[in-house]
């Protein structure tokens, strides 16, 4: 039986390639793109003597959808140390319909100003197999520090549209992961593929005038230069809501955002 040499060579190359793919691989790239804010030319600075303030609250009009139970039975390390049953944090409300986890930020009106990224990192903790906070605000170029307090491995996987995607694992006791995002993006979903119920959002803002509401629904944006601004409140389920507000020198304006409750799927 005559057999072609090419066939034998192909077989050998194939086997070798399979062995290589099964045993090698390059190291995961972990460096982030440099934050443009850090290199941006200096612009106008805010004069504290004339700066005003916008404060207010975010409310939900109607009944909030019920939080859903998270089944962590398959992962004892997740429920270990938890004092309350795990539930979803999609819609969290306080007294009088106050809505939490809303990012309130200045979308426009700050042309000419430059805002270097703060040097203090924003900390995101993984505790009881949930992210704390559920929604975080961060400035472009500002460090995000992800900490694993659980006795199990997590992977942190932001899925941005405008920024670079990354996915890194963090075993128990590992050092914090530090990252930043180079472009504005409201908001980047974050998930853990090891524990598929773990979801969070990171809002990346181009200026420091933002706040994520707590259970009282309140926000307070201080040290705003006089001007007319587009203010946005963004919620993961209800989306963005915009209002225009004009702030005079040393003036404090009050703004209320109201989202109409819509039943979540399955309610």
């Amino acid at each position: 039986m005559k057999k072609s040499k090419w066939g034998m060579y192909s077989l050998a190359i194939g086997a070798f390639a399979l062995a290589i793919t099964g045993c090698g691989g390059k190291k995961e790239e972990s460096s982030e793109a440099p934050a443009p804010a850090a290199n941006a030319p200096a612009g106008k600075t805010v004069d504290s003597a004339t700066a005003g303030e916008v404060s207010g609250s975010v409310k939900l009009d109607g009944a909030a959808p019920k939080a859903k139970s998270i089944n962590m039975a398959a992962e004892p390390a997740c429920s270990k140390g938890r004092t309350t049953p795990a539930v979803t944090e999609e819609v969290v409300t306080g007294d009088g319909g106050a809505l939490a986890n809303v990012v309130v930020y200045v979308k426009s009106g700050l042309d000419g100003y430059s805002f270097p990224a703060p040097t203090t990192p924003v900390k995101i903790e993984q505790q009881g197999c949930q992210y704390h906070p559920h929604v975080a605000g961060v400035q472009v170029g500002q460090a995000i520090q992800v900490v694993n307090d659980d006795q199990t491995t997590h992977n942190i996987h932001p899925i941005p549209k405008e920024n670079r995607e990354w996915n890194e694992s963090q075993p128990p006791g590992a050092s914090p992961i530090e990252k930043n995002f180079a472009r504005e993006e409201i908001a980047i979903p974050v998930k853990c593929n090891v524990h598929p119920w773990m979801k969070a959002y990171m809002a990346v803002l181009g200026n420091p005038y933002f706040q994520v509401t707590e259970k009282d629904g309140k926000f307070d944006l201080k040290n705003l230069p006089p001007g007319t601004y587009t203010l946005v409140a963004w919620h993961e389920l209800y989306g963005p809501s915009e209002q225009s507000v004009t702030v005079g020198p040393k003036e404090t304006k009050t703004v209320t955002f109201t989202f109409k409750a819509t039943p979540a799927a399955g309610d």
């Binding site: 399979l18 075993p171 598929p196």
Partner: protein, 316 residues
């Protein structure tokens, strides 16, 4: 009724190698288990639970928690199937007298290597829908290749088989080609839907077309060759699988709607989706076998065939 032996047609026949055939069947079964493992990864949304590839953070023994259980098991089974395929390709190269079979073994090896590469790409590129769908599709092609190797190495395939005339229109050979093309396209549409490349509508349209073609093929086989056991068996399996698959498809869709509000994949959704996916692979394999058996046994003829007049084939 015209029948003729393939021995008279001048084709090269090889001696059956029972060990090789059994090994090919074993590889096909392991590949089927790999398809189950892959479907479990997708349905549990665990594809990126191990962000490094091919190893898990440089280790072969990652902590088996949460989604890592599915993802790492899939990689281990895939590596095992890869090594089984190396042996299969080498065995075919050494033992096979039919040159095209040796090349088919190499094609299987090339397929499993490409499949491994696509699996790595899908992890490193964060599961782009096109790459993930290509990974799911190549899995079906590889499975089909191994199934066909198992069939070609069987004693039945290598025995003298009398050919039958199939003179009715549409010809069964043509029907099987249309059917396998539709089933394969439908599997791509299903994979694209699961990997969120597009919605359910193309997959539903595909289901209608596949159902019609499978019923046409199985019906034609049953009507024309009800006394020819291999063809009758193919028709029966096609009927059973398409019925089961339609029920599974509807159930899997219901389970997805039901599971949507839950914060994590739930067991009923995972089970039904996985069973639906791998039954699709079984339908493809059965359609492939039907096509190959039809090409082996049937010959486009000119006279009408009366299957009841083929007593010599009844026992086969």
């Amino acid at each position: 009724m015209n029948t003729s032996s393939n021995q008279n047609s001048g084709r090269l026949r090889a001696e059956p190698a029972p060990g090789l055939h059994k090994y090919a069947v074993f590889t096909a079964i392991c590949t089927f288990l790999l398809l189950v493992a892959g479907a479990l990864v997708t349905s549990n949304d665990a594809g990126l639970s191990v962000p490094t590839w091919p190893l898990a953070w440089g280790s072969v023994t990652p902590p088996m928690v949460g989604g890592i259980v599915y993802e790492w098991s899939h990689r281990v089974i895939a590596a095992s199937v890869g090594f089984l395929t190396i042996i299969l390709a080498a065995w075919l190269w050494i033992a096979e007298k039919r040159p095209w079979m040796r090349w088919l073994g190499l094609a299987a090896l090339g397929g499993v290597i490409a499949q491994g590469m696509l699996g790595g790409l899908t992890v490193r590129m964060f599961q782009p829908p096109a790459v993930s769908a290509a990974h799911a599709t190549l899995a079906q092609l590889f499975f089909s290749t191994v199934v066909s190797i198992a069939l070609f190495t069987s004693a039945w395939w290598q025995s003298s088989i009398s050919e039958l005339d199939d003179s009715r229109s549409p010809r069964i050979r043509a029907l099987t080609i249309w059917t396998i093309a539709a089933v394969f396209l439908q599997l791509i549409l299903g994979a694209a839907f699961r990997h969120k490349a597009f919605g359910i509508i193309p997959h539903l349209i595909g289901a209608v077309i596949v159902t019609i073609l499978v019923f046409m093929t199985a019906g034609a086989l049953k009507r024309r060759f009800s006394n020819v056991q291999p063809l009758r068996k193919c028709a029966r399996f096609l009927h059973i699988l398409i019925g089961v698959q339609l029920l599974l498809g509807a159930s899997a869709w219901w389970s997805r709607v039901y599971a949507a509000p839950f914060p994590q994949p739930i067991a009923i959704m995972v089970t039904l989706t996985v069973v639906h996916t791998v039954t699709g692979a079984l339908l493809l394999a059965t359609t492939l076998i039907t096509t190959l058996v039809s090409y082996r046994m049937l010959r486009p003829g000119h006279a009408l065939v009366n299957s009841s007049s083929t007593p010599e084939l009844l026992a086969r």
